[in-house]
Amino acid sequence: MKEQDLIWFRLPPPPVAVPSAPPAPARRTVTVEIDGAAVAVPQGATLLDACRAAGKDIPTLCYLETLTPVNACRVCVVEVEGARVLAPACSRTAESGMKVHTNSARVRTSRKVVLELLASSVDLSTAESLAPMLAEYGADPARFGADAATVAQPVKDDNDLYVRDYSKCVLCYKCVEACGTDAQHTFAIAVAGRGFHAHISTELDVPLPESACVYCGNCIAVCPTGALMAKPEFTLRQAGQWAPERQTVTDTICPYCGVGCTLTAHVQDERIVKVTSPLENGVTQGNLCVKGRFGFEYANVPDKARG
């Protein structure tokens, strides 16, 4: 039998000419001055983009590449010459001729106070990105006194998959955005209450199993403080056994369906302890569904037990 006969379908002929995209219109740029250095960025870029292009590191907390900026935390403020107040770098559009100072005394004071306000009212013990910022700005949260009001409250441990500890919540709105129009479109949670009493809540604060939540865990993925935490990590931390230094991370493809989401398995002591997905992954942008995010326990069952 000839080899060709074995092929029961015919491969398409190779394309003669690869169609090319129409030439992109020349992208207009704007030039801004960041700490004295001119930098050109595409029109529509934010000051944060411009600062990063200029090699200036701006701290952020409520900002995430995959979410709509809410500019609520204000740790990213910069000084724009001629403006009455400071501007949030994460969301302010760069305009031609803007002169920006990223580290002036005004900027440093605001960032320091904002960090102190957070650290004096919220439990930041698992907010890994914040500790270096507090140190960098010399924040002294204790100066508001021992009786300073906090958001301390009991942990919400009402389902098998993840835990909500809003004593650790900085109200960055990221989870609400991930659950809503920026990713999941489930709208199980929203900000409720007002002022210092504003908090993340289901309707009437009902437990998650009584809410619209589908346990995709996309809120956990974006939470910068550990207020939202998958059960295995929460349990290990409580037992004092959470050990990132003993963990390896491996990318794989989710075994459940044909979408083919990239999973990052975090493995500690030969057990998967957490699953995430890379933010920059084109398929997931960090999002998964309940199966990909939580359905890994079978892999932790020893081979022997599987028979």
Partner: protein
């Protein structure tokens, strides 16, 4: 959107309240009875429908609360189905507004003001008496279906102390008791509140406006002298002349007049009105909207209330002119929920103007179309901030948006919007009837025209005054009869809670935009609260700090947590020794700077203003001083 509505159904009463607003549901998809033949073959809703109906969320909550006294989960669920709103989001909105109750409570509630002006005039004593009569705030009294609670400024400061009594039912009633001479007066109003009252009488209005009937007060000319419920009386008193002139001038001509008059916004920010109108008129995106900001919740402010109850047709006429000038066919007047009289008067005036052909399609045969709707706030000072107001109109939490983009480009429903204060709009009528030059002859070259001043506190004749810009603070107080009882002046709160405290040394400051700015002061919303030597200033500062903590939307960290820390630091300053004080003051100063610099909106940016001014100008808490 896959609506996931769980839990109880609405009661018949709750449903009836919602249906009275929205009409009967069309299908089982919207919370109506399921009809398999009708509902199982079609699906309704979807994102476009959800977006289109969302703005009815607050009106729907009001409808239920008005009838039942609170909004239950069942009622919320039904509203969510009708308007295609996820329950968690609806809950977020419901809990943002302090006038909405989310737990069963007494049918009748007295909201009692304990804010700056009332505090100076026995507000606290009234609260104590109510505690004796009705029990602690918030608890239903045992022998009657009534309760009371504390409230920030109710906008009745000229008649302090004030209370607002609200009774749920069909129809519901809301009435103001001011001055609330005693707890007995408030209690007496609880069960007897009468339905359908159309607001203050001419006598009451004359009481609020000491200058009533005199010359040289273009804004207040009709208040207290012309029947505010009669379109004929308004017409006979010169009403709709400005609108007729606007129709002749056309949009460009009107804008040219307003610009020539150099009218500046009276809502606090003093932005040139003509430039604002021109920007909106020139926007290509359609439709354009007009929003009249009648949220007036700045403590000490009651001017817009008097204009709306005393001369409501003027506001309707001015909004119509604004609509014509800015190519807008639809307007909203957003009035605070604590102003039942103003709301009723404006709604009545709009209906009467519409019936007489001054509002709606083809206004006065001109071919122009403009109509307006009155929307009620629900207890949120922050909704006076223009972008928070837009969000509230859209059925969302009243959280300010980031600017830019500015309202003239992206306003309510994402469209170009002109938003003006009530008093700002009222000025457009005399500008058009007497001409920009004649109108601008009053005042100073930079602060043109007249200005309304809200005098309250320890002043002999509190009330709303209209003076050309340029009087000194001392003259203003003198014209209101001076400090009550001839006592010594201790301090004046200028511009409201977001304004500044000044002492007697500032009596020579001229009340113009430029002079106050130069002196580091502000006119704000025209507030002048006078305090004599008996006033407890540290206590007042504490109240102001509480106000901002209570009213912060909670969106940004400097304001959400900063307002709490400010209140705590003030308490520490009041109890701490002289040594500790210096350290506390340093923390307070740095906190103030960060709140001013890093907050999203004007609330956080000005929340430390009164406190800082009292420390700097009145030397409160000076290390070593006793107060």
């Amino acid at each position: 959107m896959d609506l996931h509505v769980i839990g109880p159904d609405a009661t018949a009463d709750e449903r009836a309240a919602v249906d009275a607003l929205l009409g009967e549901p069309d299908s089982g998809w919207e919370g109506g009875a399921r009809d398999a033949a009708r509902d199982s073959r079609t699906s309704r809703g979807g994102r476009p429908a959800a977006v289109a109906r969302r703005h009815l969320l607050l009106p729907a909550f009001h409808a239920v609360q008005d009838r039942v006294g609170w909004v239950s989960r069942g009622a919320m669920n039904y509203i969510c189905q009708r308007l295609i709103v996820p329950p968690a989001e609806a809950w977020g909105v419901l809990t943002f507004y302090h006038l909405f109750a989310t737990a069963p409570r007494a049918r009748t509630v007295a909201h009692v003001c304990d804010d700056v002006a009332c505090r100076a005039l026995g507000g606290e004593a009234l609260c104590r008496d109510l505690e004796t009569a009705l029990g602690p705030a918030g608890t239903p009294a045992t022998n009657r279906d009534a309760t009371w609670q504390r409230s920030p400024c109710l906008g009745q400061c000229d008649r302090a102390p004030a209370a607002l009594v609200v009774r749920a039912g069909a129809p519901s009633t809301r009435a103001v008791v001011a001055p609330a001479a005693s707890a007995a007066a408030v209690v007496a109003a609880l069960p007897s509140t009468d339905a359908g009252v159309l607001g203050e009488t001419l006598t009451e209005l004359r009481d609020a406006v000491p200058q009533a009937g005199t010359d040289g007060i273009p804004l207040l000319a009709r208040v207290g002298t012309v029947d505010p419920t009669s379109v004929e009386a308004y017409r006979a008193a010169g009403g709709f002349r400005a609108l007729e002139r606007a129709i002749v001038l056309g949009p460009a001509g009107v804008i040219a007049e307003v610009k020539a008059a150099k009218l500046q916004g009276r809502g606090g920010a003093a932005f040139p009105t003509g430039a604002k109108w021109e920007a909106v008129a020139g926007e290509a995106a359609l439709p354009h909207y007009v929003v009249c900001n009648a949220d007036e919740s700045e403590p000490g402010t009651f001017k817009d209330r008097v204009l709306m109850t005393g001369d409501p047709f003027a506001i309707v006429e001015a909004m119509t002119i604004c609509g014509i000038a800015t190519r807008s066919e639809r307007g909203f007047l957003y009035v605070r929920g604590e102003y039942p009289d103003a709301e009723a008067r404006i709604a009545h005036a709009a209906a009467a103007a519409r019936a007489a052909g001054w509002l709606g399609v083809d206004i006065a045969g001109s071919g122009h179309t403009f109509d307006l709707e009155v929307r009620r706030g629900a207890g949120a000072y922050i909704c006076g901030e223009e972008t928070a107001l837009f969000n509230s109109l859209e059925g969302k939490r009243g959280e300010p948006r980031s600017k830019p983009p500015f309202p003239s480009q992206v306003g309510v429903f994402g469209k170009p919007t002109v938003v003006n204060n009530v008093e700002t709009l009222a000025n457009v009528l005399p500008i058009l009837t007497s001409g920009a030059a004649a109108w601008a002859a009053a005042g100073t070259p930079q602060s043109t025209g007249t200005r309304l001043f809200c005098l309250s506190g320890h002043v002999t004749r509190p009330g709303l005054y209209e003076w050309p810009f340029g009087l000194t603070l001392g003259e203003a107080i003198a014209r209101a009869g001076g400090v009550a009882g001839g006592r010594a002046l201790q301090a004046v709160l200028l511009g409201g809670a977001a304004g500044v405290f000044v002492g007697p040394e500032s009596l020579d400051v001229r009340l113009t935009m430029e002079d106050t700015r130069a002196a580091g002061l502000t006119l704000g919303s025209g507030v002048i609260v006078v305090f004599d030597d008996t006033a407890d200033l540290p206590d007042l500062l504490g109240r102001i700090a509480e106000f901002f903590e209570h009213e912060s939307c909670g969106q940004c960290v400097p304001c959400r947590v900063g307002t709490v820390r400010q209140r705590e630091l003030l308490a520490q300053l009041r109890t701490g020794d002289a040594h500790a004080r210096g350290d506390r003051l340093a923390v307070l100063t740095e906190l103030g700077q960060a709140m001013r610099d890093a907050s999203i909106c004007g609330l956080g940016q000005t929340a430390s203003s009164a406190v800082e001014s009292a420390i700097a100008r009145l030397h409160l808490f000076r290390a070593g001083s006793v107060s």
